[in-house]
Symmetry: none
Subunit: 157 residues, 2 copies
């Protein structure tokens, strides 16, 4: 034993690829992969993975991973917040680091909101350059960002 991680990955894969409606069913599928555990462990795993049980026309109820919906579910702000990594300042300029691919969409949120603290932005793939107006402090910029993307609040304090 001892391969909790392997088991959790297998569970995620099985849940996304098959319609599974009970822990026993899942248990058997894991067994086919030589992952032998008990129902108790599975119960804990499902809770850990925050697996939901949702209505299904075919099988009554089936397990589903939580982010299935979360993706669709997402607001622009959540989307931005997820990709946001950090902001630093150098020479009166702000540099936001994002996850790959997120920079331009986050920057465009800033541009659209058009906060008066900011002249403009330049976005690459994972970096945004924030160009502030004169006499605008770093904390002004941060406050403006939180205003535009409230979901960033936690990451920025």
């Amino acid at each position: 034993m001892g391969n909790r991680t392997e088991r959790l990955l297998a569970i995620k894969e099985l849940i996304t690829t098959k319609k599974i409606s009970s822990q026993e069913e899942l248990l058997n599928l894991l067994e086919e992969r030589n992952l032998n555990y008990t129902q108790a462990t599975l119960s804990r795993d499902l809770k850990f993975l925050k697996v939901n049980k949702i209505s299904d026309p075919e099988k009554g109820y089936i397990y589903e991973l939580p982010d299935q919906h979360a993706v669709i579910n997402e607001t622009a702000g959540n989307f931005a917040a997820r990709g946001f990594i950090s902001i630093q300042f150098a020479n009166h300029l702000g540099i936001i680091k994002t996850m790959p691919g997120y920079a331009s969409s986050i920057a465009s949120l800033v541009d659209e909101a058009d906060p008066f603290e900011i002249v403009g932005t330049i976005a690459g793939d994972d970096t945004i350059l924030i160009i502030p107006h004169d006499n605008v402090s770093e904390s002004d910029i941060i406050n403006a960002l939180v205003l535009i993307i409230p979901e960033l609040k936690e990451k920025l304090s």
Copy 2:
């Protein structure tokens, strides 16, 4: 006893307004409204209403009505629809033009929805290349897009 409808309405209301994590809990809340039933009936009601049980940080798992998502849902779609400008086809490839910065986030919606018409996407800053499977028509692609982002419907007809 004959007020099944009243009971079902009460259940829906209770589930949307409170975090309820067991049938017994729900049973007691119904009792407070002079709706006296048994757990068996509730079990059937929840199945009838297609109520899901989803992970909740506070209470472990709670009941949730199935269309809750649909509403929030709109936001990601609206976000995408707002940035969408046009789609054209050339050489069996689709080219979506978006407002600056929107390309990658719209493309990721498409990727995540994974429609079987589409092999994959490549996104720049304001352009997405859609690579369809063979034998897929332009209108198939458009229909798939509308499925993924219903808000696009008006723009695409």
